[in-house]
């Protein structure tokens, strides 16, 4: 297995993986979407709310804010010694207090742990008009995307087979395929049909259908994939991928332990 990175920034990544089974790469995708734990506000006490939004809506909006996650200091409430009642090992308390006229942003939330902070400080929670106020106390906990999308760290994770476009020698440069390609990756250069960016091909085969003499063949390489992923900010794209892989390893270990016990 080898990986070629095409694009890697803080919260976005695109790379090619060669010689890998589809099952493994799909497992990785699913693990990043549903299994990697992240921090999100899960319990809220509203002491004062005279804004235009109902308490429930405020709770939903606050819940959806992504927080930077530290998996070393916190554990999932289900796995905690306190049995999910809430202790310093499994939850972080936060407060928010604002008086209008002002727009309350996610950056106004005061966290008791400096490592657990809103990943994006410019998320508007509610706009307060004159004399309106919002006072609340919240508890952030770890959770997984399987339970609620607010804990989903991976965004738009997906993959496709690596496209291979072969133009055969009997191509008569009629140019019919160029207009058919929805991605516009086929061009005519010095009367020869050329492919500009094969990675952009979506394997739709419209070009092969347009060709009367079957001179263009589009195929997805069986065990090579282009993977594309984004993070919501709770992890960097690189760490999210690592955590995704770690989760699979841990699950496999657990399964192994259960199976050995049965024997």
């Amino acid at each position: 297995m080898d990986i070629d990175i095409i694009e890697l920034s803080d919260n976005k990544a695109r790379f090619i993986i060669n010689q890998i089974e589809p099952a493994i790469i799909n497992g990785l995708r699913r693990s990043m979407l549903a299994e990697v734990p992240t921090m999100a506000i899960d319990y809220i006490n509203i002491y004062g709310n005279t804004s235009v939004l109902f308490d429930e809506q405020i709770a939903l909006r606050v819940g959806l804010i992504p927080f930077t996650t530290d998996l070393e200091s916190y554990v999932l409430p289900e796995e905690c010694d306190c049995n999910g009642e809430g202790c310093t090992k499994c939850q972080v308390s936060m407060t928010l207090s604002s008086k209008g006229p002002i727009i309350v942003y996610s950056g106004d939330i005061l966290s008791s742990d400096p490592k657990i902070l809103p990943a994006d400080e410019r998320i508007p929670i509610v706009e307060l008009k004159k004399d309106e106020e919002l006072v609340l106390e919240a508890f952030a906990k770890l959770g997984t995307g399987r339970k609620h999308p607010k804990w989903q760290a991976g965004i738009a994770c997906g993959y496709k087979n690596l496209p291979e476009i072969n133009i055969l020698e009997n191509c008569d440069s009629c140019g019919k395929c160029i207009g058919e390609c929805p991605k516009g990756i086929l061009i005519m250069e010095n009367d020869i049909l050329t492919v500009t960016d094969a990675l952009n091909c979506n394997l739709c085969n419209l070009c092969t259908n347009a060709c009367d003499i079957d001179a263009i063949i589009v195929q997805g390489k069986t065990n090579s994939f282009i993977f594309r992923m984004e993070s919501d900010g709770s992890y960097t794209a690189r760490n999210l991928l690592l955590e995704g892989a770690n989760t699979i390893i841990n699950n496999a270990k657990q399964l192994n332990e259960i199976l050995t016990e049965i024997e």
Binding site: T50, V52, R61, D120, E132, I155
Partner: protein, 62 residues
């Protein structure tokens, strides 16, 4: 208020609303602004394109 995340993919779009609405009010093309803000997918683009803020409408009746 603008929804925090895209309904479909879960990407954070609310933090881009202020710049988007300000620039569109200055008669910039919404499509160009969305490209500038790196809102790529059409699920996220429709979130900003189709949003109507209602806070000012409701505020007098509080």
């Amino acid at each position: 208020m603008i929804p925090i995340r895209c309904f479909t993919c879960g990407s954070i779009i609310s933090s881009k609303w202020e710049e988007y609405s300000k620039r569109v009010a200055e008669h910039e093309d919404p499509g160009v602004v969305l490209d500038d803000l790196e809102v790529e997918r059409y699920c996220c683009r429709r979130m900003l394109l189709s949003h109507i803020p209602l806070v000012d409408t409701f505020a007098p009746y509080q």
